[in-house]
């Protein structure tokens, strides 16, 4: 077992390199599957997001679209970017900033029927900023060939 110290060190360094590169490669491949991309309704329509993948959906809560189901904890609403719309279902306690006609970011996945099931509605924690993704994305869709 006893190797020359020099070779020991080399092996150690190689091992370290292999571990880190391996971890990075693993990470990269896992990222391909699991990075949640951010979509606006228009992007979702355009790119056709596969069902069941964790994504984020951002836009405005359409006026008059919030309906509460009889169980009292599930809501349906429609997210719009003034071009396309996506129906969303969410079960849980919505943050206070969640209102009609106001920005929203929902985490969840698309169902085969085109409905988005949200596991989480992101509350905005900073007074001074919109969710940056919404702000940035709105341009994208505003500039879609209207």
């Amino acid at each position: 077992m006893a190797l020359k110290a020099k070779n020991q060190r080399l092996i150690l360094a190689l091992l370290a390199l292999a571990a880190i590169v391996g971890a990075a490669l693993l990470a990269m491949s896992a990222l391909k599957d699991q990075a949640a991309y951010f979509y606006t309704p228009s992007d979702a329509k355009k790119d056709h997001v596969e069902t069941g993948r964790a994504v984020r959906l951002g836009g405005m809560v359409q006026k008059g679209s919030i309906e509460r189901l009889p169980d009292g904890v599930t809501i349906n609403f429609i997210v719009t970017d003034n071009a396309e719309t996506v129906p969303v279902t969410f079960k849980g306690i919505v943050p206070d900033l969640f209102k009609e006609d106001s920005g929203v970011v929902a985490e969840g996945s698309f169902q085969p029927d085109g409905r988005f099931v949200a596991t989480n509605i992101l509350a905005k924690h900073d007074e001074r900023y919109m969710p940056p993704q919404v702000a940035g994305q709105m341009h994208k869709t505003e500039s879609l060939d209207k």
């Binding site: 006893a2 360094a13 571990a19 306690i93 919505v94 924690h125 900073d126």
Partner: protein, 641 residues
Amino acid sequence: MIAEAGLAALWLAAALAALQLVLGWMGVSSQRTDLLAAVRPVAVVQAVLAGISFVTLIWLFVTVDLSVALVAANNASTKPLLYKFAGTWGNHEGSMLMWVTILAVAGGAVALFERRLNERTLIATLSAQAAIGLGFYAFLLFASNPFARLNPAPAEGQGLNPLLQDPGLAFHPPTLYLGYVGLSVAFSFAVGALVTRDVGAAFARAMRPWVLGAWILLTLGITAGSYWAYYELGWGGWWFWDPVENASLMPWLAATALLHSVTVLATREGLRAWTVMLAVVAFSMSMVGTFLVRSGILTSVHAFAVDPRRGTFILALLAIYIGGALALFGFRVGTVREGSRFDAVSREGSLVINNLLLSAILGIVLVGTLYPLVAEAVTGEKLSVGPPYFNSAAGPLALILVAIMAAGPIMRWRRDDLKATLTRLAGPMLLSALVLLAVVLLAPGIGILPLLGLVAAAGVGVASIAPLWGRNLRRTPLYIWGMVVAHLGIAVSMAGMAAESAFTRETLVAGRIGEEHRVGPYSVRLDDVQPIAGPNYTAIEGTVVARRGNGAPFTLHPQTRNFPSPQTETNEAAITTLLDGQLYVVVGRSDDEGRWQLRLWWKPFVTLIWLGGALVAFGGLLSLIGRVRREMRHAPPRETI
């Protein structure tokens, strides 16, 4: 006038840092003792001046001097005194000033107390410390002056995000910052040792207390931050893998690796280059943690756009320090003498595996945290990386790491026998097998990671006490106790995590007043909902009565708080801690039929997560006390140069 005094003190401190750098540089290269001797006092005075500047800012915040822009933006006269005080570092500029103050004070402490290290190496260390400080001073003075005035002064300040209005959180950033700065001292030592080609056991022993101290504080900071997120956000989770959390986890991972490799260097003179490299990495992670969180770039690259000067400054600082240190490493590491030899199956060998696994986990977290940023910068795509990625990539490695942790401490230095090691681990392995059997039989269908987590926690919990077998406990050195307690803490924390993710029960209902609902073994009833008024918020408070079977009922008071300045609403969860877990209750809104949304969790043994974290920190403290006392006793008389 007070603000100007603070600014003047900051300028003076910056000038002294420059002087410290130049004197140290000249002294180390020319070996002139008069120059070398001048550096220590300069470092001490620099620390005092930085301290004055920071105290000035605290004063401006406590007295709510709204003519200072920073105070107007982050403070309000209606805030309770504690939060006016803590508001000082609850913002970008103030936190940077705090950073540099701690840095200067740490440098002063090294100058006053470090007596064992070779004088040239020490002065080189202080110069490196001054170089880091200089970058921060420049950043403060040119890109984010905390003392800038606002003309005219507003009538009322903007207050502070109410989510942050929490006594625990007020002292959360300072704890982490102290940890980051401790790692910067370790980094300075590494640079100093590289400059004077003095990477050896003495350097490792001088660096070790700083690494240990930093690591203890980071452990405490992460544990407290996790608990804060758990009760303050009201989502029932204790770790969200969000970038801010990762930013504090990454330095911790690096510091943990460094702690173990420093031990090899101090005891056995091995892993020299690797230890120096790790010190650089740990400091890099602290810088990344500090800057990325505070600059807001983690939310979006756009944060740079709003203030490009600040962003460029940050990048430049990162480039200079990390790039410079890595280049120095490249030039000098060839001259570092060979370390001692050891076998693959040995204490050193297990520590190497520990280091590799920690590095790999660090790599995974780093990639997951920065990937969205890089992707946005390169392609403009917006995406976020969520818990599924981190859990599936880092979870298995963490399990292997914990398993190695059982074997490492009972192995011999230099060379050990694999069979003998396994024999010594027979007891823990048997226990693990029993736990595996019990869980599979009693709770079929739990996830593979939680299952293995429970199994590993049981085995490692027992194995971690093994180093104490056959020792005279009264004569066992303190640092051995420290290691045992810290390793036990990891096992305890792991047991809590596994139990929480395997056995949590959740109920989400809309209930009328007086209805009974069940969650796990509890029946829960909402008795009343009342509006109440707090010091700077109004709230709706629910009265919830819970009981287990026929046990005595107890009451919880979850709230929904509404803050006017700035307009925000927060859910305050009510949590009751019982012997075998926590009952966690959040009350939401009412609908038009008079039903209230209730979210109930029963989380068995969840408290073990933070108890374990506290144990780990306590173990670190025992070890630190033991090491420092030992060093004092064995301190050589100070060498005259």
